[in-house]
Every structure is written in structure tokens, then in C-alpha cells.
Amino acid sequence: MKNLVALLCGGLFGLGLFISGMTDTTKVQGWLDIFGNWDPTLAFVLGGAIIPMALTWRLSSKIKKPVFEDNFPKEIEQKLDKSLIIGSIFFGVGWGLSGLCPGPAIASLGFGGWQGLMFFFTMAIGMILTPFIAKYLN
């Protein structure tokens, strides 16, 4: 059952990314282009996603456990460390350059084309390299 839920949630996530325009890199770059021809769409996407999710977090604190799992994820310690800041800056630069964040980068595989495939693989390589970079940072 958990696998079926994963398929449906992944599918709905991909559908949402597609419909909202987040798989169109020019649209995402338009959102970041605050001094150019600024495109506010992404604010509606984020807002649209955050509102139901905020209600869900509140609901999750009132029910005992998820349907197919024993516990809800524990709240992580709210530590503002170097990795969080430096990582987010790196991510932002790459996001601006390419117009892809990880979700749409995965979805872009469904569009075909060597560009999306190449981006996906270099992103995965970056993820594999990260533990070594993190060691260096700390």
C-alpha cells in the first residue's frame, strides 16, 4: 500500500509541477529575474502548496499516527548551521543558472531530451559528492 501511495503522490507532485509551469525553466528564471520581466507565478505555486500543507501539519499533531506508518517524522533540531546557509546559496545559484530545482529536474526526464538527462545525472553526482564536501566544511 505504501508503494501505491508513493506512486500516486509522486504522480500528483509531477502533475502539479507540470500544470503550475515549474517544469518550464524560462518561467522559473522569470520569477528570479526581479529586475527584468518579473514573473510572479511561482509565488502562487508556493502559496498554493503551503496552505494545504499547513493545515495538514496541524491535523497531524491531532491524530496519533499516519495510516501506513507508526510515527510522524520527528521535528528536526532547529539548528542554523553553515551547511544550511552555504548549501542554500549553492542551490540558489544553480537554480538561477538552470531554472531547475530537484523536483522539476526529476520530472524533466519525462520530457525526453539530452539536456534534462544530463542535468539529472550531474545533480545526482553532486548529491553523491556532498558527504565529502560536508566533511571538509565542518
Binding site: 504522480g11 502539479g16 502562487f44 508556493l46 546559496i89 549553492f90 537554480w95 548529491m127
Partner: protein, 141 residues
């Protein structure tokens, strides 16, 4: 008025619904970089099939939608240097920060997580600065 905001809002609600269902049913935070990252760097030996199936769902949706909508382009650059540096930065950055737009942005901000809010401020700012430098000043994208 640009009608794009309607599709943005509808798509956003779908993303929120997917994240909600994933939390309430499977008890997991729907973060794209975390789900993929844990697979490729072999740190997460649990839920491997669940992760792969989730990612398959993300890829399948556009394959199906392309048939109906005729939209079939991500407009991703063909500049190999930009693709490689962008991919590496996104991969390393999201794993260092332990989250991306879905994990920190959607799932973090919605529970008022300080880490999520700070991460989102930093990647939005550096994304905007990245556009200023590489598009407006250097003209490489």
C-alpha cells in the same frame, strides 16, 4: 492579468495535496532532494522501493501530460557548461542544506520551521543574484 497565476495556484494546490497525502498516509516529508539524495548516496537503506516508485510517479506524469497538452519542452539550455555547473550546484547545495524547494519551501515553511524559512530566504536571494550576474550582467544564460 496574466492567467498563468491560475494554473500556478492550481498546480501549487496539487503539490500541497501530494505532500499532505504523503505525510498523512506514509508518514514522510515530501522533499524531492531528500528522496532522490538518500537513494543515490546510499545513506538510506530503508524504503528504497518506496523512493524509487515515488520518483517514477514524478517522471510518469509529464510523459502522460505531454500526450494531451502538446507542451513538450522544459526550455532547458543546451549550454553544456551551464547544465553541468547548474546540476552540480543544485545537487550539492540541496544535500548540504538538507532540502530544496519542496522540502524546505513547501513542507518546512508550512510548519513554520526556522531552518525551512532561512533556507528559502537564502536560495531565493542567491537565485535572484545568480540571474542578475549570469543573465543581466554576463549574458551567459
Amino acid at each position: 492579468m496574466n492567467p498563468d497565476w491560475i494554473s500556478g495556484l492550481v498546480g501549487g494546490l496539487m503539490i500541497g495535496a501530494a505532500a499532505s497525502a504523503y505525510l498523512l498516509m506514509n508518514g514522510r516529508v515530501m522533499g524531492a532532494s531528500g528522496i532522490l539524495g538518500g537513494l543515490v548516496d546510499l545513506t538510506s537503506r530503508t524504503n528504497v522501493p518506496e523512493r524509487i516508485i515515488f520518483l517514477l510517479g514524478v517522471v510518469l506524469s509529464p510523459i502522460l501530460l505531454i500526450q494531451f497538452t502538446g507542451v513538450h519542452d522544459t526550455h532547458l539550455t543546451s549550454n553544456v557548461f551551464v547544465i553541468i555547473s547548474g546540476g552540480l550546484l543544485v545537487g550539492i547545495g540541496t544535500r548540504l542544506a538538507n532540502g530544496c524547494t519542496s522540502g524546505h519551501g513547501v513542507c518546512g515553511i508550512s510548519r513554520l520551521s526556522l531552518r525551512g524559512i532561512i533556507a528559502t530566504i537564502f536560495y531565493l536571494l542567491s537565485g535572484a543574484i545568480s540571474i542578475i550576474i549570469f543573465k543581466n550582467l554576463l549574458g551567459v544564460i
